[in-house]
């Protein structure tokens, strides 16, 4: 239990660090470029459009669309994209983790 709490705190702190350093945006940019290049984005977009068109825009909601598209879309992410991002994330964390404290962040 206590370990879980520590793990959660670390996770929160890491996420915050990623956002603040701009690394998250860079990762996002890389991911976006890779997904566009591999055709994934166009595929998912087309899928969403087809679903909405078939059902009519009035009857579609974001939640529903997510439920239908997400599993497929997640499974279709190319392996090398996952690997690239994971490697990069690991490298970044290895370089930046030393001074990271797991204390709860102060309330804004």
């Amino acid at each position: 239990m206590a370990q879980d709490a520590v793990a959660d705190r670390v996770k929160v702190a890491v996420e915050q660090r990623l956002v603040e350093s701009g690394e998250k945006e860079r990762l996002q940019e890389i991911l976006r470029a890779h997904l566009i290049e591999s055709g994934w984005k166009d595929h998912v977009k087309a899928q969403c459009r087809d679903i909405i068109r078939a059902r009519g825009a009035a009857n579609s909601s974001v939640e529903q669309l997510m439920r239908e598209v997400a599993p497929d879309a997640r499974a279709n992410i190319p392996e090398n994209v996952k690997r690239t991002l994971l490697t990069r994330l690991k490298t970044y964390l290895m370089e930046n983790i030393q001074d990271l404290d797991a204390t709860p962040p102060s309330q804004p």
Partner: protein
């Protein structure tokens, strides 16, 4: 009628001042990639669109176009948003500003840093100062976090009624909305507004207009940082017409005519090669804006067989509101008169026609052969520059030459030998996507030893490499895929080449190559994509059949909807149809 109809009719005649013309989200500077090629074999199956399968004769008719309009108009504005207090809108504006700045703060700082680097050699002191500045900004701008689980990843939404921030995936925001009866929230990543009463993301015109303004503003600043020396329209000029436009169309719900800009072209006897290129011209936003602003009129023109006059007439016909197919016979006759090799009823190569037509239009507009830095619409739209760098491997001397380009011809043959300098190059069996082709196009290739003589060390028979990069990118980039092979016997390469709907050209420019040392080049820390290098696909020309005989069709985007043009036949198409147009 929301976005789909608004942009074209009233705002057209401005000769496209870079980004205010774009109806796209803010990241596209000039929203256009002309993908051009005598290439694709269209899908074997009929197009899967709702209304077009049995609709054979004539151009697209009123009711199927209405379907397009309805598709956009299906979702009414959210009434809850309309009733929201002005203070809520103000709150939204604040949050938009915060979120956009928060998102791009590093790019702002990086851009600043890059400019510093360009101007002066990097000094440790200066960078430290910048870092201190960055930290100060970071301290002032809080990182958004879910108030319940403190996550800062994933979808975060901010309540528009109070200061609560919550995450979507764990349902913390919705729990808050339920408990406090707050119903409007804005998502920080996309800046879309979620309405709990509608249980969906919603929009309303005033809010959209505000969002667009703020996005333009921040985009303007990003562009300014990326290219500080470029002259741009002042921001106020770009913002003002946008808002007027909203008011005029929003108030009385005025719609442009249903068929504006969509018209089939008759086949005048093996002229599908011409029809596809003309359709590509018609749907090219820059050329369209130019010719509809009436710069060239047949009444004032004295030239014989002037193609520019014919272009003017073509646009007039296409935007006349007529729905019957139009036969561009005047255009054909003018082409026949001005270029002998295209005369006759034989089948022609669309790419040859494209190049000839561009030259002829240029002649019609300018009246001379001078093409460098030409102010005419053709060169303003399509002209870029290639830089070819020849590096002598023995002395390291670099010879640089610049070549103008109107379009890019990409080779599809499998490489016989891989070059070591470009690890990203395509796999051995040839390219599979447009990006593969571009990587190959810009890869360093080794020159034949005999063919090169170094100007610096003066020794012939030296090994040297040659690399092509884009020095300046045209607003509309046109690619041709070289599918026809002429070896001992001519044949057509049928490989499917994937074309992305969005393309970032920055890796292929000289700017990127110069800025990145080898470590950077391996995407260790890629600089953010340059806004001016971002392209969107708007037209694809396909060829089916063989080298000797075949048929051209094309896809083009018109008001965010794709259409398939097959001579006189115009049908709706979806993005997936366009991207899957393959062998």
């Amino acid at each position: 009628m929301p976005k789909a109809g608004r942009s074209t009719s009233s705002s057209l005649p401005s000769p496209a001042p870079s980004w205010s013309d774009s109806t796209l989200p803010f990241q596209t500077l000039l929203a256009s990639t002309g993908s051009f090629g005598n290439t694709y074999v269209p899908p074997a199956t009929p197009l899967t669109t709702q209304s077009s399968a049995d609709r054979s004769p004539g151009a697209i008719e009123g009711d199927s176009l209405d379907a397009v309009h309805r598709a956009g108009a299906h979702v009414p504005e959210c009434t809850h948003l309309g009733q929201a207090k002005p203070s809520t809108l103000q709150r939204y504006r604040t949050l938009v500003k915060y979120s956009l700045f928060q998102k791009y703060q590093h790019r702002f700082l990086a851009g600043f840093q890059a400019n510093q680097r360009d101007c002066a050699p990097p000094k440790g002191v200066r960078l430290q100062k910048l870092e201190a500045k960055r930290d100060a900004i970071l301290a002032r701008i809080p990182t958004p976090q879910c108030a319940t689980c403190r996550r800062s990843f994933g979808q975060l939404l901010v309540c528009l009624h109070c200061d609560f921030t919550g995450c979507w995936s764990n349902g913390h925001l919705r729990a808050h909305q339920k408990a406090n009866k707050h119903y409007l929230a804005v998502e920080l990543g996309t800046l879309a507004v979620y309405c709990a009463r509608c249980r969906d993301y919603v929009y309303s015109h005033p809010w959209e207009a505000m969002l667009r303004q703020e996005r333009l503003r921040i985009y303007h600043r990003l562009c300014q940082l990326a290219e500080p020396r470029t002259r741009r329209l002042p921001l106020a000029e770009c913002l003002a017409p946008e808002t007027n436009n909203h008011d005029s169309t929003g108030a009385d719900g005025a719609l442009p005519g249903p068929c504006d800009g969509i018209r089939g072209l008759r086949n005048l006897g093996s002229t599908c090669f011409m029809n596809v290129v003309l359709q590509a011209f018609v749907h090219n936003p820059l050329l369209r804006a130019h010719f509809l602003s009436d710069p060239h009129s047949a009444n004032r023109c004295t030239r014989e067989a002037c193609i520019a006059c014919q272009m003017d007439q073509l646009y007039g016909q296409v935007f006349s509101g007529e729905t019957t197919p139009y036969g561009p016979s005047g255009f054909l006759r003018a082409m026949w008169q001005s270029s002998t090799e295209l005369a006759g009823y034989a089948q022609q190569d669309a790419h040859e026609f494209f190049i000839t037509a561009l030259n002829q239009i240029h002649m019609g507009l300018c009246g001379d052969d001078h093409t460098f830095n030409c102010p005419c619409a053709v060169h303003q739209t399509f002209a870029g520059q290639l830089q070819s760098t020849v590096t002598c491997l023995s002395c390291g001397h670099q010879a640089v030459a610049n070549d103008p380009l109107l379009d890019v011809s990409l080779d599809l043959r499998p490489h016989t030998k891989r070059t070591r300098a470009e690890p990203l190059a395509a796999s051995d069996d040839g390219p599979h996507s447009l990006l593969d082709c571009l990587h190959r196009f810009t890869a360093a290739e080794s020159l034949d030893a005999q063919g090169y003589m170094c100007g610096s060390c003066g020794s012939a028979c030296q090994a040297a490499t040659k690399q092509l990069l884009f020095k300046s990118l045209p607003p509309v980039l046109s690619f041709q895929l070289k599918r026809f092979e002429h070896h001992s016997s001519a044949s057509k390469i049928e490989t499917f080449i994937r074309v992305p709907s969005e393309l970032d050209m920055s890796p292929f420019t000289t700017r990127r190559a110069a800025g990145g040392n080898p470590r950077n080049a391996e995407s260790a820390s890629p600089s953010p994509p340059h806004p001016a290098c971002h392209y969107q696909l708007f037209a694809v020309i396909n060829h089916e059949g063989t080298l000797e005989t075949g048929h051209y069709t094309m896809f083009a985007r018109h008001r965010k909807q794709w259409f398939r043009f097959d001579d006189h036949l115009v049908t709706l198409a979806s993005l997936s149809d366009v991207l899957q147009a393959k062998a």
